[in-house]
Chain length 108, copies 2
Amino acid sequence: MIAQTPQPPYYAVIFTSVRTETGDGYSEMADKMVELAKKQPGFLGVESARNEIGITVSYWESLEAIRMWKANIDHLEAQLLGRKKWYKTYKTRITKVERDYEFDGLKS
Amino acid sequence: MIAQTPQPPYYAVIFTSVRTETGDGYSEMADKMVELAKKQPGFLGVESARNEIGITVSYWESLEAIRMWKANIDHLEAQLLGRKKWYKTYKTRITKVERDYEFDGLKS
């Protein structure tokens, strides 16, 4: 679902990836990482979609929260496995959300 | 594919959406908007994925380039149709990319 984030400013990590053919253990790890991220200080939400490429956007209160998540020991292990097994290529972009607006057809 | 963007800083527009059941004309319009965006001044690239939700991230040189794209007359028409027909709900986030890094398994 669309993440319910607070008023800007906050931070977003855009993770864009192309998978290998190796599915082994990937879904379990992806689910585990989402659960783990939710417990991190400063976590605000996550959105994810995949077909030819995958895009996962996670939202955070601060750059410090992002640094702590990147350095989380279980997450480091997942990153290593990601590079070894699951991803052909990926790009991570650390961004500051300056403005947001939404449309909700159910409300209008 | 993963967008080949220059060194930060640059800007990203994260557009997260949930579609209606109405598919009518959507793919054609989505393709048309990508072609149109590519011709806009300051456009740097776009990434898109969809399953339960859709995430489209477009990259831009400046906030001014984003403003001009938002105000493009054909794009305005597409936005209107989007709210009327194709989207249940969406959220747009304007962000500044401060840092990026990548992994390319083909190179390493």
